[in-house]
Symmetry: C2
């Protein structure tokens, strides 16, 4: 495939850039037309790459792109999952180039979605194209690209349920995660789930003068801080009653295997420019990310947030709370527990509302599986070193749902790197990873 | 004065509206030209009202309006203090009419500054005009209207120091506070001071994916909540070491006098639409506001605050913290203690910065003073009931400074009411209070 990439590089960039230029931000209603535009563009690209048929399918939310090429019904079928929506690009002012005007410099593509997930999904389309055009394709291939991954895939489970037969396959192949480093390839064999909530604390029904009322009326900002602060104890454990009930403690040998992954705490700290890490007592940084649940504020706001020093005792305060869950915890049960917990601790001098926003379960992939072994062999050949099985801290809730609905395991061949800072300003994707990803995927089909 | 008001009412409205239409928001740099415009408008109005001379004086910040009429150097001199700047009007969408397009309905003027402090200051200009035009003025009168009260008057103390002689007077007369109700007039004989800070917590040097790092890296939003939450204990007391050292406990008889003020806790709660109040243990609502210090967040922000559910572990979080101080506490000492306290409790896994924004001391006015007695007599005559001495919860730091620099006591004849919701959307000022205020001020000159 190396040669094919060399010959077609410029066209590849043009095609990928045509996707990156569409601001398909699923979190914002104003981008609805961009979602459709991006889905239509994917349909064209998949047909060009060699799909027999491709379509943009409506859902209750953003449409799904589905395409397929059936070589022979008796062959194994690979279902490639990806998403064409991206995270919001705010804060815009921190981008070195406009987020939806991709550029190449320093050996990388810079744009919102360069990695997550337009860049990574693109590798699958091009590996497929290579196999088709060189007559090497020996598998049936199906593509499902959704437009709601970044908002928790609210519409996809129903659509998958309705189109079960069309989606039949032997493996779900996904590139939407990272590997440890470009020197140390790894394959995710587990992902965390998520439960996301909005908390709103309302005090007086209007903003008040902080001098005329301060000290006598509960301040919703202070109360929100009290509530949030009480959710994690001094050992870094979440205080929601029953939260750890379904968390399986990993046996010592599994923790030892995980600990074999090369990791330098000082390098980690230096990369983030932090003096020290913080997390659950008794676990290493990799364990805290891979095998333990956590609770994080993703946003908080209320009162006067402009220039200067306005004095006000505001009427309300809001926070966005995300919990990452580990396998065996279910988003549904955690959601129930969280809502009950908040109701229990809400003081009577304010009104506290908790709104579940999205959720999904985590999952584990058997290392013994044929697909994992094929991926490991392929990546080992490209990178010259056997990939390490790892556990990812992120969440692709929809994969847990698809596994449940379709009965197919997902395999996560992720080629992203930490340095890509997906979800942040100046997201990028190394060209070396883009091309090695294509090669690895092409080889996967050889060994699977 | 009643008749004079009746005859000139329409002109009064036109004049006051010409001030209210200028968005003189001192907290925002973009309104700099409006500050000058508003100062110039005041200069015209004071000259029209009968001042011998008036000028707009530059300071290091917004200009000061100064005007005077010297009847006879041997007469008593009244120095009227007011401010022409206003609080920001955000959130605009909650206003029933645009904040800088004043309207009259339901017996009140509705606009930002209708009460605080354009409306209240206007009463002094018109009472003065009445006395001048009817030949009743027996005092020298000086006016000092500043443009930085809402941002803590950073430039005025230096200007007052430089113009000490020009400002010589026997009493500083101020209408920038409330009375208990329009049935129960009161005169503030004490105000709280203030110390205001911005807190910034910085974690990683960039926003991170909350899945790839969550649980292992300190989240600045959560840490900020922890810090803020730790500043007040379960009894509602501020935990900053040494914070209460200079707070004088009021003797039982003073607390009893304060308790005589009519107050209905249920009415208070109903007005604010809250189920319950919250504050320092062992004190009543009025005491918590009038004689006890407090700490309030005025704003908090960080992470994703838009529509939808973006997952992010943000790089930083900010909060605006205001403390109201009682007489004998100094803003300077409290500022030192607060900065030291924050430094002490800041954990090593984040960077915590604390920036003092503004501050000022509280003060007390002797009830026995000639000026207080004249004001009480004047208001008693207009309202038909003797005013109650009270303690205000707000802060006019500059009055404490002027008292110190000029050696003159401030007298606070405030005609605002709770219902005016100054600093909030839909600020208003009752016409009855506007006119009774003018009458009371005119009578003050009679009895002083």
């Amino acid at each position: 495939m190396k040669e094919y990439i060399e010959q077609n590089k410029e066209r590849f960039f043009e095609e990928l850039f045509s996707l990156l230029r569409i601001p398909s931000v699923s979190a914002k209603a104003e981008h609805k037309p961009d979602m459709i535009k991006c889905a239509e563009r994917w349909k064209e690209l998949l047909l060009d790459a060699g799909a027999d048929e491709a379509g943009v399918y409506p859902t209750k939310g953003n449409p799904v792109v589905f395409a397929k090429k059936i070589v022979d019904p008796s062959c194994k079928t690979v279902l490639v999952y990806g998403h064409y929506d991206v995270q919001p690009a705010e804060p815009f002012e921190l981008w070195n180039n406009p987020p939806f005007e991709p550029v190449i410099h320093d050996g990388a593509i810079w744009a919102r979605g360069a990695n997550d997930d337009k860049g990574q999904t693109f590798m699958h389309a091009k590996a497929f194209e290579y196999l088709v055009r060189t007559g090497q394709l020996k598998h049936n291939v199906k593509f499902i690209f959704e437009g709601e991954e970044e908002i928790g895939s609210p519409s996809l489970p129903a659509w998958v349920e309705e189109n079960k037969e069309m989606l039949e396959a032997d493996i779900i192949l996904v590139s939407d995660t990272t590997m440890m480093s470009d020197k140390v390839p790894s394959i995710n064999c587990g992902m965390r789930g998520m439960a996301y909530f909005e908390l709103k604390v309302t005090g007086p029904d209007k903003d008040l003068h902080s001098g005329h009322y301060g000290g006598a009326v509960a301040n919703p900002l202070n109360v929100l801080c009290d509530i949030v602060s009480s959710l994690i104890d001094k050992d870094g454990r979440i205080t929601v009653e029953g939260f750890y009930d379904d968390v399986v403690e990993l046996p010592a040998e599994d923790r030892a295997m995980l600990a074999r992954a090369p990791f330098d705490q000082q390098e980690f700290n230096d990369f983030l420019k932090i003096k020290n890490v913080k997390g659950e007592k008794g676990y290493t940084t990799n364990e805290r990310i891979g095998i333990r649940p956590c609770l994080d504020l993703c946003g908080i706001y209320g009162g006067y947030t402009g220039e200067g020093a306005k004095t006000v005792l505001p009427s309300w305060a809001k926070a966005k709370v995300s919990m990452r869950l580990v396998p065996n915890q279910t988003a549904e049960k955690i959601s129930d527990l969280f809502v009950k917990h908040i109701d229990k601790i809400a003081p009577d001098y304010v009104k506290v509302e908790v709104t579940p926003m999205q959720g999904g379960n985590g999952f584990l992939i058997p290392i013994q599986s044929e697909a994992y072994q094929a991926a490991a062999k392929a990546m080992g050949e490209v990178y010259g070193i056997e990939p390490i099985p790892s556990r990812g801290g992120g969440s692709i809730a929809i994969l847990a749902d698809m596994q449940r609905i379709l009965g197919i395991d997902p395999l996560l061949m992720g080629f992203g790197l930490e340095r890509d800072v997906i979800h942040s300003p100046n997201e990028s994707y190394l060209l070396t990873q883009l091309f090695r990803g294509m090669e690895s995927i092409a080889l996967f089909y050889k060994y699977y």
